[in-house]
């Protein structure tokens, strides 16, 4: 790989963090689907997975546990396709045994993330998406510190409609304000339900909480993605939802969110 040596992020146009104060709301899912949707429209995309305790992206993109190699400018990301349009680096690749628990205290995580973030040879990318663990703690501060030396365009916040989740994301908004991260927008995931049996009722599960939160806090609302069994199944198998179900409402929703995000990134 021919690389210039002026920093691993030098040729990365936009850096976007995917955050949520709440666990399991679909940060990794939204990261994966946004990356696939952006690639679908011809962008070069990278994903950096910094969830030390629970890295999910390798499975969601079905790359397993490849060996990672080093080149002069750092770790070479793993490409999911021959065109090298989707690059991935996960902290999960560096673990010897996938079932082993990473039981580290904050200072150690901070040191590793700092090294990890600045050591990946991304090459040229349109967008780098960073998938984070839940919360507002060591990992988040460490990622910000290391990325800010370069630049961070902002954060996409993911929530589910439930108050239990929007309550945590409200705190995450404060985290962004305090740390000077621009909020690119809020995504409401698992919003309503695409029932495989009939389409009589879709409001069995709640809906609208993320949109309300956006209004309440004056943030951009990027859109909502329904709870769709086809999506969870496709993530389990590591399939590309954008090519398996291009006509579904769920794909439409994801693709419209990725368009809004792109517009917001390119407008400044």
């Amino acid at each position: 790989m021919e690389q210039n040596n002026d920093g691993s992020l030098a040729l990365v146009r936009h850096v976007v963090l995917v955050l949520s104060g709440k666990g399991g709301v679909g940060k990794s899912t939204i990261t994966t689907e946004l990356a696939l949707a952006l690639r679908h429209v011809g962008k070069k995309v990278g994903i950096l997975d910094v969830d030390l305790c629970g890295p999910s992206i390798p499975r969601m993109l079905s790359v397993g546990r490849p060996e990672v190699h080093q080149c002069d400018s750092g770790w070479v990301p793993v490409y999911t396709d021959a065109q090298k349009s989707l690059a991935l680096m996960s902290i999960g690749f560096l673990m010897e045994d996938p079932d082993e628990a990473v039981v580290w205290r904050g200072p150690k995580k901070t040191a590793l993330i700092g090294q990890f973030v600045s050591d990946v040879a991304w090459g040229e990318l349109d967008v780098l998406l960073v998938d984070t663990p839940p919360g507002t703690s060591d990992e988040h501060l460490a990622v910000l510190e290391s990325l800010k030396k370069h630049k961070v365009d902002g954060a996409v916040l993911v929530t589910t409609p439930q108050a239990v989740s929007t309550g945590d994301v409200r705190r995450e908004i404060t985290f962004c304000k305090k740390t000077g991260v621009r909020i690119l927008g809020i995504v409401e995931n698992m919003s309503g339900f695409v029932c495989p049996h009939c389409s009589e009722c879709s409001n069995i599960f709640s809906k609208g909480g993320g949109e309300e939160l956006a209004k309440l806090t004056g943030s951009v609302f990027l859109g909502s993605v329904p709870l769709d069994p086809l999506l969870s199944a496709s993530l389990e198998e590591g399939k590309d939802f954008t090519t398996s179900f291009p006509d579904s409402a769920t794909f439409g929703a994801i693709s419209s969110i990725s368009q809004s995000l792109l517009k917001s990134l390119e407008s400044d």
Binding site: E100, K108, A111, P133, S137, D168, R171
Partner: protein, 313 residues
């Protein structure tokens, strides 16, 4: 980064290996740990042991994965235990960055009070006490942007400085993962008897792959596992009674994992949108829809848990 091997975890700042084990390589704390300054056992551990000696059963609720329903389960376990009016029950939330317990227990906006013997918990009922960092925050916008050591300090205070009184059960809800909070709670409870941990998962492999790590964590720190609960397991539409797998058990679900790892499966709780709603309204689902399959499942799980704990005194 090559040094990330099997045994690569923080041996604990007060352990023999602190600052010296292979995994300490590159840790910013290494010098301090190696100097021995951190090795003196924290006197709080003995104080906590003393304080919690009047708590008969201590149960941790854990999961490597986020959003699988740890807090929901902890809350309903506490409600269910407290439905026996002769038992004293307390629920402690050690999720410092994302406390959900105040909302789920219907206690949003409550504040703790200082009493002569420490912080008083907030009471839902005469026999059900709750403590969470949520009660120490002044507004719903407050973010707790704390690094590990500060979170650990808070957990220590929750155990040592809260006026728990005599308890039959202390249920502890944790954040996702295997990190500072988990290491701390286990360490601070090391001079007391802990019944063990209930592990929560959902059926998909995306969850199970993280939960297996949590199980390794329990084994590493010698925390007994009471059993595993599979939450959000299948969905039966309350309207039309059709069932669908929203989170498919592609790798065999909790059942297969438990068989592989030789762990008891305490039960499965189906997805029921009314659970989400009860949580948001701060009500007990067990009272809201007592005759639903999900409420039935919760009660059965608590029964199995109780028979485990019964052997424990």
């Amino acid at each position: 980064m090559e040094e990330m091997t099997q045994n690569d975890y923080c041996p604990g700042t007060s352990s023999e290996q602190a600052g010296k084990s292979a995994s300490c390589e590159g840790c910013p704390n290494q010098q301090l740990c190696a100097s021995g300054a951190t090795k003196a056992p924290d006197p709080a551990i003995a104080e906590i042991g003393e304080k919690l000696s009047v708590v008969k059963h201590k149960i941790l609720v854990l999961s490597g994965k986020g959003g699988v329903g740890k807090s929901t389960f902890s809350a309903h376990l506490a409600h269910c235990l407290a439905s026996d009016g002769t038992k004293e029950v307390a629920l402690l939330d050690v999720d410092i960055c994302g406390p959900s317990i105040p909302r789920i227990m219907g206690l949003e906006g409550e504040q703790v009070h200082q009493s002569g013997s420490g912080w008083s918990p907030v009471y839902v009922d005469d026999n059900l006490a709750v403590m969470s960092i949520g009660f120490l925050l002044s507004s719903p916008d407050d973010a707790v942007i704390w690094r590990g050591p500060k979170k650990n300090g808070m957990i220590k205070q929750f155990l040592r400085d809260v006026d728990w009184g005599e308890l039959d059960y202390l249920v502890i809800d944790t954040p996702p993962g295997t990190s500072d909070e988990h290491l701390s709670i286990v360490q601070y409870l090391s001079s007391t008897n802990v019944d063990g941990a209930v592990i929560i998962t959902t059926p998909q492999e995306v969850s199970l792959q993280d939960v297996r790590k949590e199980i390794r964590f329990c084994q590493k720190v010698k925390l007994p596992i009471i059993g595993v609960v599979e939450n959000m397991s299948g969905f039966m539409c309350p309207k039309c009674k059709n069932t669908s797998q929203i989170f498919p058990p592609t790798s065999g679900g909790a059942e297969k994992m438990c068989a592989d790892l030789n762990l008891p499966l305490l039960g499965k709780v189906p997805l029921d949108p009314r659970i989400g709603r009860s949580c948001d309204e701060g009500k007990s689902f067990l009272n809201e829809v007592p005759d639903s399959p999900a409420a039935e499942a919760y009660r059965r799980i608590v029964q199995s848990e109780l028979s485990f704990s019964a052997h424990f005194l």
